[in-house]
């Protein structure tokens, strides 16, 4: 598998407000009972979108104005909690291709990178303005440019931050770490053979 080069993501925005949105909220544990990721998209934010007996609640992911959106905008520490890749899988399979926010939990953003979904950082006031813009003009196009490290919308262009190694591997299309790391079989062997606990502590 050769992953594609992702230099930019363009699309409509969707906003999920609030700090510390954990992965249990993004996908409740009872939907982790399936042995493939295939249906995870249906379960994104399930308990926030549906009440008892499947009653539809007010939530951006249910809002007709935001269907087809691909750029999710969030606040602080998004994706904290469980390491479940089901969370980014659910968002990706729902249609999200990039996430812009104030900050992300480590494991969550690492998981996103493995799926080719960039996590991009903006300062709080910039996030708030972007959120307001999307809610005011739902269908408007947002662009996340990974090469120039900017987020563009309307006539605004804001400087963004992104983890440099994530940016590099997405832009160059080297985010399939399995293939990449397999290239170094000899070096892996060399490192292993110098580890005392793999050689019965005989040096």
């Amino acid at each position: 598998m050769t992953p594609q080069q992702i230099a930019a993501v363009k699309g409509r925005g969707i906003v999920v407000r609030g700090n510390d949105v954990d992965t249990d909220r993004i996908i409740p544990a009872r939907y982790l009972r399936e042995i493939t990721f295939a249906r995870m998209g249906e379960y994104a934010f399930y308990d926030e979108r549906f009440g008892a007996q499947g009653k539809v609640k007010t939530h951006p992911f249910n809002d007709p104005r935001f269907q087809g959106a691909s750029i999710l905008v969030v606040n602080e520490n998004f994706g904290c909690g469980s390491s479940r890749e089901h969370a980014p899988q659910a968002l990706m399979r729902w249609g999200i291709q990039a996430i812009v926010g104030e900050s992300f939990a480590d494991i969550f953003s690492g998981n996103c990178g493995m799926l080719g979904v960039p996590t991009i950082y903006l300062a709080k006031p910039d996030v708030e303005r972007l959120m307001d813009f999307i809610e005011a003009i739902p269908g408007a196009e947002i662009e996340v440019d990974l090469e120039k490290k900017v987020v563009k919308y309307g006539d605004v262009e804001i400087q963004a931050r992104i983890n440099e190694s994530m940016r590099e591997s997405l832009v160059k299309g080297t985010w399939d770490t399995t293939s990449l790391m397999l290239e170094a079989k000899d070096e892996i062997r060399k490192t292993a053979s110098a580890l005392p606990y793999l050689t019965n502590f005989v040096s």
């Binding site: 009972r33 520490n77 390491s83 479940r84 480590d106 170094a184 070096e187 005392p196 019965n200 005989v202």
Partner: protein, 475 residues
């Protein structure tokens, strides 16, 4: 020359090479696998025609989905049975060891790793579960990873990682009776925040940590991730070595003595530099309880739930969401809140010492009317050891349910779930909305002793009022 921290020593010894994007390709010495986050990874290997690079360094168990009322196969829950069979098939096809329910070695992955002697100082450890940080209690560097990374480790025995910064957290003094490892870590998270640890490894030290047993250190390291830190660790010492000695996967005979040389060499040097240092006076800590929807929203049991205007602006929004979900009022007391469920279990607090401490409080008492109380040992070995000491009888005589090993009510993906708006006193690690299986359920995190005290009283109480005098003399 300045010294090095344990984190950097282990990192450097396991660094295979630098990747083009600046990350490190890091060798992983021990890979632990469980039923829920692995099937998709094995499937990806099949699709690409890949094998496991080090099947002998890969060990699997079942904990998340398995029932804890009966371990009989087939499981009553079809999806649990299907997941179990999938794991067994993957283990057969790829040649790895599974500690299945029939093996007497099954249990929560973070309980059995140390218990079997798999977890050792100086290792890198990975598992598709965020609480892998637990294994850092042994002076290892242990990361929770996602499923695509599980695929990476299976296929290459490596992870692509950014090097972390290291924060030393020094807990001085001595804990008062009734104050436990759980209270220490809840206080650390309250102080540094749930995202304070992003980008950091936490090194725990100081007199309080040195005096802790290995099981207590595991409780502290376990919840590093709740503070945002990808991993947390304690430098290995005599207690670490004694704990490991003689366990099934520990180095045996003369190899053990050789291992000691390595283990001693990887502890942080006295002059190791840290990116940040935080000091906490352990003598002042009190039993802690969470009042909100993340583990940082904690207070000591006698305190009042914070008033919104006393909080920083950034915290206010989550706090008001929390009050709303919990049905609590700002300025309320947490003491006296009536509970519906008491859960003693999870990889944070389900080891023998936790059960002993709790049983000491329960002995001769009864669970309050209307409270559903369950005790779920972290592993089959813990269960057996507890039964040998008669702890199970103490619990069941008091009206607790006594279960088989598993994650149970920690996460709501097996039959153990809260109903409706149940308020649960829980020894687990997460109080997120919906975490215990009911979207409207509510969780109060606390130490095992506080959990059983709440079960007996039917409400949140200060465990220090119930402690047997023998324990008050503990220190």
């Amino acid at each position: 020359m300045t010294g090095k921290s344990l984190f950097h020593k282990i990192w450097d010894a396991h660094a295979v090479r630098e990747l083009p994007n600046g990350q490190t390709q890091l060798f992983i010495g021990l890979h632990l696998v469980h039923e829920v986050t692995s099937p998709q990874a094995f499937q990806m290997l099949r699709e690409r025609g890949l094998r496991i690079m080090h099947p002998e360094r890969t060990f699997a168990t079942v904990d998340h989905i398995v029932p804890t009322t009966s371990q009989e196969r087939p499981f009553a829950d079809d999806m649990a049975e299907a997941m179990m069979q999938e794991l067994e098939k993957n283990a057969r096809d790829f040649g790895i060891t599974v500690f299945h329910p029939g093996s007497a070695r099954q249990g929560i992955v973070h309980v059995i790793g140390p218990e079997l002697g798999l977890t050792q100082p100086g290792m890198t450890i990975a598992c598709g579960d965020s609480h892998t940080s637990t294994h850092g209690a042994f002076g290892s560097v242990a990361f929770g990873i996602g499923t695509s990374q599980v695929r990476d480790v299976l296929a290459t025995q490596c992870l692509a990682m950014n090097r972390l910064k290291v924060r030393r957290i020094e807990v001085s003094g001595r804990l008062a009776p009734g104050v436990y490892a759980k209270d220490v870590i809840l206080e650390i998270i309250r102080r540094l925040g749930v995202k304070g640890g992003i980008g950091y490894a936490y090194e725990y030290g100081g007199e309080v940590i040195s005096r802790m047993s290995m099981e207590e250190r595991m409780t502290v390291c376990n919840m590093s991730i709740e503070g945002g830190a990808r991993c947390g660790y304690v430098n290995p010492d005599q207690k670490t070595y004694e704990y490991i000695k003689g366990r099934p996967y520990a180095p045996q005979g003369t190899a053990f003595n050789r291992a000691l040389d390595y283990w001693k060499s990887i502890a942080s040097d006295a002059d190791a530099p840290y990116d940040d240092v935080v000091e906490i006076n352990g003598s002042q800590l009190e039993p802690m309880v969470t009042w909100g929807i993340n583990p940082g929203q904690a207070i000591s049991v006698g305190e009042r739930i914070p008033k919104l205007d006393s909080l920083q602006a950034a915290e206010r929004e989550t706090a008001s969401l929390a009050l709303n979900h919990m049905g609590f009022t700002e300025g309320d007391r947490i003491l006296g809140k009536r509970i519906d469920v008491a859960f003693l279990g999870s990889c944070t607090n389900s080891r023998l010492s936790d059960l002993r401490e709790a049983a000491g409080i329960v002995k001769g008492n009864k669970v309050a009317k209307g409270v559903r109380a369950i005790v779920v040992p972290g592993s089959q070995q813990v269960r057996l050891a507890a039964e040998k000491e008669g702890l199970d009888r103490i619990f069941t005589d008091a009206g607790f349910e006594w279960r088989y090993a598993g994650c149970s009510m920690c996460l709501g993906m097996n039959p153990d779930v809260l109903q409706g708006r149940d308020l649960c006193a829980s020894s687990s690690n997460r109080n997120y909305i919906g975490r215990q299986g009911s979207p409207t359920g509510r969780t109060l995190l606390m130490s095992p002793a506080m959990v059983v005290a709440a079960a007996l009283a039917g409400a949140v109480v200060d465990v220090r009022e119930l402690l047997p005098t023998s324990q008050l003399a503990r220190n």
